[in-house]
């Protein structure tokens, strides 16, 4: 049993686990204390000081986020002293802040703005100390960094270090010049950054945002010559609602499709289709590798690791350049989709691919970078012209004046709009693994995977590293070499966990044959392009929505998707075939560690 402590907060007794902060103790009795540098995902910083409270017997005020509850503590959260101090701190932050709410991307979704409004710094007395020489760094395809809006809470620094173990951002200088910068103050596109965007979703202000491309998309939509196709990822539909008046965890698939059609996209398609396709290609790739390892005894990189998270791909390129062979050669579903849009889709629809603008609606910041990788032009064009985040799509829907809550549902267009439950669960950590196993097990044994309702529960949940063991029995003759094999599968999300998995591989101690890695904590539902805030509570609700969507799908195994069956019959011929190889697979490059 954990030790308990009892303290009083605003006159109320509250008993909490030893070690809990005063802030969290207050939450338990619904006493709200303002915070800025605090984030549930991150370690304590205690540097903004907005959360101060009065503690009996102490002359100074106590930062509630950074102070553990002690037995007998007497805390007051709203005394004149506290209110005055908080207002003063807000006034100081504002004096250092390049306040531009009317033009700021984070307006109405900004923690600084919210608190400034709450404390109403009406008698703004302080002199502006905004640094005139702070530039907006737009060098990266994914991340935009505006130091003049930074409140130096270091949430981004902690995110990049603690969740992602990339350490791309660091505090530099002291005193009045202290700020968040990069290695040697290089622009964002020249540093080791995975573009995961986690720093964005953990930033309380508009200092870190995604590079926005929606104006370009509006232009394309407005151009009668252009055929604009959008595909939306599974995680978008379970989070978009948060921006448009719905409770966290609401699925808004049908309304989202209707909205996108109303906005003028010529075709609204489903990334889940290419997720299903990824599964077919990837499962077959794995079987080929296993066959080489078991039967022909060829040198082959195992475990194989998924490659659908471009943040993860860039991470391994930088951090483990010697181990790229472990990556599946499959492109991410976004890029498969893009390549097929300008080939297969164009052909089937009889549209000149040069007139097609292919847009990806993604929960992700890294996919913006991925779309711009020089490798991603296998259709002869840029396979994906632009990646939009869930947030950008939310903004566009608002810009279009659409009353989202009142919309009817509609279905994705065809072709490439059909998907299975397996494609849907790509959005959650463990989902790719589950989808792959549903298909791989079937291919190997001819039977569905032996879990209740196909729900492979060991791979689900928010634990940083998960494993599942599956024993192959009564295999089909072609896969008899797997008979009786107990294979271990690993799942990691958040790059700090990816690092552990990779270190095992480097040491030759990995127990796995196949590993799913997602750059973002929680998988894509917690992606760097998702609505802000994101924390574990929110991740869980989005994940629950994803599995609900899966259960509601009539087809839940990728290989049964009729459009997938059709594309192999009509176009690709066979998994890992020549066309697949050309359009759906890619190569990786070694990058520098620094």
């Amino acid at each position: 049993m954990t030790d308990k402590v009892t303290l009083t907060i605003d006159g109320q007794n509250v008993t909490v686990d030893k070690g809990m902060s005063i802030l969290d103790a207050a939450k338990q009795i619904d006493v709200r204390i303002p915070t800025l540098c605090h984030h549930e995902d991150l370690c304590v910083a205690g540097n903004c000081r907005i959360c101060v409270v009065e503690q009996k017997g102490k002359n100074t005020l106590t930062p509630s986020c950074a102070t553990p509850a002690e037995p007998g503590m007497e805390i007051e959260t709203s005394t004149p002293k506290v209110r005055k101090a908080r207002k003063d701190i807000m006034a100081l932050l504002v004096s250092e802040h390049n306040t531009q709410c009317t033009t700021c991307y984070r307006s109405t979704n900004c923690e600084l703005q919210d608190l400034a409004a709450e404390y109403n710094i009406d008698n703004d007395i302080y002199i502006s100390v905004v640094k005139p020489d702070l530039n907006i760094d737009k060098s990266s395809w994914s991340i935009e960094k505006d130091d003049s809006k930074c409140i130096r809470c270091q949430r981004c620094v902690r995110t990049c270090a603690e969740l992602q173990h990339v350490n791309a951002l660091a505090v530099t200088e002291r005193g009045k010049d202290m700020r968040v910068s990069t290695f040697m103050h290089l622009p964002m596109n020249e540093i080791v950054c995975t573009n995961c965007g986690q720093c964005i979703t953990h930033c309380p202000t508009g200092a870190l945002t995604e590079r926005r491309y929606y104006d370009k998309i509006w232009d394309a939509i407005d151009d009668p010559d252009k055929h604009v196709v959008i595909n939306t990822a599974p995680s978008v539909r379970v989070a978009l609602g948060e921006m448009l008046g719905y409770e966290v965890g609401t699925r808004v698939t049908g309304k989202m499709v209707t909205a996108l059609k109303k906005m003028g996209f010529d075709s609204v398609l489903d990334t889940d289709f290419s997720a299903d396709l990824t599964i077919i290609e990837e499962a077959n790739e794995l079987l080929v590798r296993l066959k080489k390892a078991f039967v022909t005894k060829e040198e082959v990189a195992l475990p194989m690791i998924t490659s659908c998270s471009p943040g993860w791909v860039k991470f391994i390129e930088h951090m483990y350049p010697e181990h790229l062979a472990h990556l599946s050669t499959c492109k991410s579903p976004q890029q498969m989709f893009g390549a097929l849009t300008k080939t297969y889709y164009a052909e089937k629809k009889g549209i000149d691919p040069s007139k097609i603008v292919s847009v990806a609606g993604m929960p992700c910041a890294a996919k913006k970078y991925e779309a711009n990788r020089p490798e991603m032009r296998d259709s002869g064009f840029m396979d994906v012209d632009a990646g939009l985040t869930t947030r950008e799509i939310g903004h566009m829907i608002k810009q279009a004046g659409i009353d989202f809550l009142e919309l009817e549902d509609s279905n994705f267009d065809s072709i490439m709009g059909e998907s299975t439950g397996a494609g849907v669960i790509f959005g959650a950590t463990g989902g790719v693994m589950e989808a792959a196993l549903r298909t791989a097990y079937f291919v190997i044994t001819g039977r569905p995977v032996p879990f209740n309702d196909l729900n492979i529960t060991p791979v689900r949940g928010l634990e940083g590293i998960k494993e599942a063991t599956i024993k192959f029995e009564d295999c089909l003759p072609e896969y008899s070499f797997l008979e009786g094999v107990e294979a271990k599968f690993g799942i990691a999300h958040g790059l700090i966990n990816a690092r552990q998995i990779m270190d095992q591989i480097v040491e030759g101690k990995s127990p796995f044959v196949f590993i799913e890695i997602m750059a973002c904590p929680g998988g894509c539902i917690g992606g760097g392009g998702q609505p802000i805030p994101t924390n574990d509570e929110i991740r869980k609700k989005r994940i629950a929505a994803i599995y609900e969507e899966d259960m509601n799908k009539p087809i839940r195994m990728s290989h049964e998707n009729p459009e997938i069956v059709a594309i192999y019959e009509d176009y690709l011929e066979k998994p890992l075939g020549e066309k697949s190889h050309h359009l759906l697979h890619t190569k990786y490059r070694k990058r520098k560690r620094y």
């Binding site: 304590v44 910083a45 205690g46 540097n47 903004c48 000081r49 907005i50 101060v52 002359n59 100074t60 005020l61 930062p63 950074a66 102070t67 553990p68 002293k81 005055k84 101090a85 003063d88 701190i89 100081l92 932050l93 004096s95 250092e96 007395i125 302080y126 002199i127 100390v129 409140i151 130096r152 270091q154 660091a170 505090v171 200088e173 002291r174 005193g175 009045k176 010049d177 202290m178």
Partner: protein, 387 residues
Amino acid sequence: MTSHKLRKVDVIFSPYSVAPYKILKDTMQRDKNEVIQELIDSGLRGRGGAGFPTGLKWKFAAAEKSDIKYIICNADEGEPGTFKDRKLLVEVPRKVFSGMAICAWVTGSTKGYIYLRREYRYLIPKLKEELALYEKHAKEFDLDFSIEIFLGAGAYVCGEETALIESMEGKRGEPRNKPPYPIQDGFLGKPTIVNNVETFASSTMVFRYGAKEYIKLGTDDQHGSKLFSISGDSPKEGVYELELGMRLDEFAEEFGDGDTKAVQVGGVAGFCIPRKNFKDTIIGEGNTTGGSTMIFNSTRSMYNVLHNYLEFYAEESCGQCTPCRVGTQQLLKGIEAVKNGTKPPQYLDNLIKLSETMKLTSKCGLGQSVTNSFSSIVNNFREEILF
């Protein structure tokens, strides 16, 4: 409030009449609890600025259960105008090491560090020689405690004990949240005692003379002797060992140039006392005891003095916490604005309130103590700030 006449003494700097390592050896023959009690009874307080009772610190550290404990001698001495710790390390290093070793013996520590101000790195060869001598004695006394030199990061704030520890751990020198205190969770997460150079040297002398004898120095409130780095408008700039508890008027008379307008007691983190209050001020009571004392004569502009302090703060703040990072800039810009007329004189009152907010909400002693010099200068020399 008790005081006595200014008296120069020779305790800390006394040449080795009894060799410090003999004090170490003799002390190690005694009961540990008794030794700690002696230090508590001596009334010795930390000489690094915060003035925490040293005996209590050692007692708490001794009570911590841990496989390893660290002792750090804080020789960062980043305060402008101080050089007393350097003088100690040059002239009586054995008293410092002996103090550390006694501390190690009573608290059960095996590893010690001297966090040496970067500018003092030229002392290293000499210190290493002295450390070799220490190690020889430690071996002889069967004491498992080694001392290593760690070169500081070169920022004033790194003298703050938790920032110092962060910097020793290879991180940016930013103060930590307290609690936990270093005594519980310090260097590498282990119990860590941080004391100033002078504190260690003084503790050796407490054991040399015994608390009863030591306590004869000073007053009922402040015990023993202390080093003062005297700078500014003084014909006698330098480091002096003075008995604690003297009045400021005597101090100004002894060290001033006859035209003393104000004395900054306790360094930049301390208070600026105007002439009219000299008689009623006892150094170290109600003001801090940091090592540096600056004397200003009537030719000095107190606006310039304050401006210099604020520039120092705005640059030396680590910058992590809002009240200190932005507050120091506001105070600086604020007095400039009042001076040039872009803000009205009453704005000074806003600034004093701001400095009080900084005291209430800043994370470490740096931001918390800005109000001391700020308010005391603005309140006492308002006219000079304005015109």
